[in-house]
Amino acid sequence: MSGINDFVIRFANVNGTGSASANFLFAKTLFRMGIPVSPKNIFPSNIQGLPTWYEVRVCDKGYLGRREGIDLMVCVNPQSLEKDVASVKDGGYFLYDSTKPLHTEFLRSDIHYLPVPLMSLCNENFTDARQKQLFKNMVYVGALAVLLNLDFEVIAQLVGEQFKGKEKLIQPNILALNLGADYVRKHFDFPLSFHAEKRNLTHGKIMIDGNTAAALGALYGGATVVPWYPITPSTSLVDAFTEYAEQYRVDPETGRKNFAVIQAEDELAAMGMVIGAMWNGARAFTATSGPGLSLMNEFLGLAYFAEIPAVLIDVQRAGPSTGMPTRTQQSDVLLAAYASHGDTKNVLLFPSTPDECFELTATAFDLAEDLQTPVIVMSDLDLGMNDHISEPLHWQNGRTYNRGKVLSAEELEQTKGWGRYLDVDHDGVPYRTIPGTHPQKGSYFTRGSSHDEYSRYTEDADTYVRIMDRLLLKFHKAATLVPEPEFYGDDVSAEFGIIYFGTTHHAAMEALDMLSAVDLTAYAMRLKAFPFSQKVRQFTERFDKIYVIEQNRDAQMRTLLINELEIHPERLIKVLNYDGTPITADLIVHKISSDIHSSTLIRS
């Protein structure tokens, strides 16, 4: 049901034609008007020339997941015309550049057409060839502003902010906006039946992408060594880190830096540098995506076994192999959890929103140093590269880093019989030393080969088993330290459970409401970390039937739950989306209700 502040609009553009900033302006205007909005980039793995889409869902109720069904298509890309016309829902609108007439084969009788001569308006009003091209985008934003009742003052303010320092560009942009607006006023009825209305629902919030938020989390979390190798969709994370570090981590007088960003020769080297830096007491991280995670496996195993802290942010994309580099998925769960050969288990964190990207990235450094093990933040393309409405990022002044069990020179002086891998506290976490701390005490030989409590090479069966078992003890401790899951829905009358994580959040919240509207009451748990805590176990024991929602083909989180908590597979039902687009509430509701429906049929 589309209506006031409840519609989906999609822009069909050509990659590399400057549409991104115009489309962002459109989404940001709605956000500034106080209306919940969620924009999504649907872009090709290409620099210039291929079709790219930008989809904006507007929703008064605050549902920020993707929704199927396009109410208004803005088409400025002849290549994708056929597909674009077909994707508009019944009774929807199709705005296109009418400089050239639309071929009759693209005419549908069940949708409305909004022909706006974008190109010829630009040709008449601008002389510069590049401007003609760029301002086409602003003309359609102007047209939309009238059709959808956007606040012109807000748009003008945003244009002013965007071109701060380049004031000369403000006037022509406003002119282009007005060209579109005037054209609509003259030729069509406005506003459309569905349109925007000012609200106060985004007050105090920010609109930010997860990669920028994670980068800031790393900056505040004290990362100083940042080796990386470019890969979509993680690249913008390191770009953002660099940008803010150049601003806030450089001595203004000397120009000297409190950080080192190194473009490594590959992901192996990136992870090796992280490990070397954290072994030596600095905080370091790298960001990557699936192919990079595959390459880092050997090193992750070294860090696990030699107990060296490491932080990795995996911005997941659709695999396997190169897969769909610009599409989203949660398909690295198992690889990350058990990364490397031999018996290994790694700590994973699952942010759902940008503010969690910030918080969990900062936390990852504390956990990694506290536990002396790799911690992997599992973001994804949807979260990392799209703008999301989020709570502001939060940092408490006076917050200190947890550097874990690191012995100082004074402590070493007083310690007798120190062994790097001695479990003094019986919690699985030994004490470590940083090179150069003490002239005589605390040196040891770090190795990925089997070692005893004093880090001496050993192939003694008992010693090996003792060390491996202690690592398991440490992992149990990790389960008590990682962030607890969040719970949603009806605790008391729920008949079944739902488990999900990461960017499934918004769609799941909406699905919960939709299900309860048809009297299917569920209680949902959003996982925030691996290993699973006691609370996670308790939740899985409470319900006979639990739907596990995830964005991959093989139900990887379900496998992890079954494997780690020894749950009977029958009790965990797969709800999967793996086509590379962000999951929708409709899909979740459809899959859950049809399962419930069919199982009732079988029972009766």
Binding site: K205, I206, M207, I208, L216, Y220, G222, T224, V225, P227, Y244, Y248, R249, T254, G255, R256, K257, N258, A260, I262, A264, E265, L268, A269, M271, G272, M273, I275, G276, A277, M278, W279, N280, G281, A282, A284, E298, F299, L302, P392, L393, W395, Q396, N397, R399, T400, Y401, I434, P435, G436, H438, P439, Q440, S443, Y444, F445, T446, R447, G448, Y457
Partner: protein
């Protein structure tokens, strides 16, 4: 199993300027084969560090995987060591170095470790001018996996297993010079007189100091015909230059005739003094070195000595303008921009 400890059992062990004895630079007992060239290099490292008056805990020794990469366990027990994964020591060393530029970094690798699996990391560490002494214990084979040819094995050489190597050899020194390494030297594990001063000079150099040390594998690659065997090297060793290394504080005595001596001052004020210089030899002339290496290869000779030095090389931390305080010493105060700044950043997204 061999003991690489120098035979000092005198109650009053000689001390260096810092009061350390050689024992303070030793490591655990070697588990390498008796007579392995790698053990001699370990002994040379012990001697060099002793003579250089290095504080052992100010050294970080890192390696990859291989017999050669095991050796950091056999010297400098009071230094932190890191035996990483096969071929990846350069990246671990890069991370460690960025975390704390105050330590001395000593990287140990093998020819398999650096010239095959780790070639990518080796060349990029040079390219970045990592501040490290990088020693390849080069035996022309994979010792630890039982003697397969390595990429530095010479074309046509017959391995112990009987087959002939059908590929060209990679010359690590030539490659290092090509890639811009600032200090490139070649030596032989059995030539302590040459090796110790070279290690001392490398450890005093600011930038990437590469030392390719031919180190016969007595078990798998010491047959006649191997250019990495003891006999071959002894016979074909063309010494470019004898060398003394004079640390900062030592007085320079002039006991060499002017025309046979060439002094090179390092950044820390210490000197490398080359003597018995070959006709026209100038280690600062890159073109001459490259030429000489090619000629030596054609005549099956091995040039040893300090092949090349560039004293204007900028180490990585200077290239990227890193602060003087080691990154691992920075606290929240220096690292956190504060809640106020975060409010401003939030506002830019509102």
């Amino acid at each position: 199993m061999t003991y690489i400890r120098p035979a000092f059992h005198h109650p009053a062990l000689p001390q260096n300027e810092l009061g350390y004895t050689r024992k303070d630079y030793e490591g655990s007992i070697s588990t390498l084969c008796a007579g392995c060239g790698h053990d001699s290099i370990s002994a040379a490292i012990v001697e060099a560090c002793f003579e250089l008056n290095i504080e052992p805990h100010k050294v970080a020794k890192l390696s990859g995987i291989g017999c050669s990469s095991k050796t950091p366990a056999y010297f400098l027990n009071q230094s932190h060591g890191f035996n990483s994964v096969h071929g990846r020591m350069p990246s671990v060393a890069t991370g460690a170095y960025l975390a704390n530029t105050d330590l001395l970094y000593l990287g140990v690798s093998g020819d398999g470790d650096s010239a095959s699996i780790g070639m990518g990391q080796f060349v990029h560490a040079i390219r970045r001018s990592l501040n490290i002494t990088y020693i390849v214990m080069n035996n022309g084979c994979y010792g630890l996996t039982k003697g397969q040819d390595s990429a530095t094995a010479d074309y046509g050489y017959v391995a112990k297993a009987g087959h002939k190597n059908i590929y060209e050899a990679i010359d690590l020194c030539g490659l290092a010079i090509e890639l811009g390494a600032g200090f490139v030297a070649q030596s032989f594990s059995g030539d302590k007189k040459q090796l110790i001063p070279l290690i001392k000079a490398a450890m005093s150099y600011q930038g990437f100091a590469f030392l390719n040390v031919l180190s016969p594998c007595v078990t798998f690659n010491n047959n006649s015909g191997s250019t990495k065997s003891y006999d071959y090297i002894r016979e074909h060793n063309a010494v470019m230059s004898g060398m003394d290394f004079i640390p900062v504080k030592e007085e320079i005595t002039a006991d060499y005739q002017e025309d046979t001596v060439r002094e090179i001052e390092l950044h820390d004020g210490s000197y490398i003094r080359l003597h018995k210089l070959q006709q026209g030899w100038n280690p600062e002339d890159k073109y001459a070195v490259v030429n000489a290496l090619h000629k030596a290869r054609a005549s099956h000779e091995i040039l040893t000595g300090l092949l090349y030095i560039n004293n204007d090389q900028m180490p990585l931390h200077q290239i990227i303008r890193l602060t003087d305080t080691p990154l691992n010493k920075l606290t929240e105060q220096a690292l956190v921009p504060g809640a106020g700044i975060l409010d401003q950043i939030n506002a830019s997204f509102a």
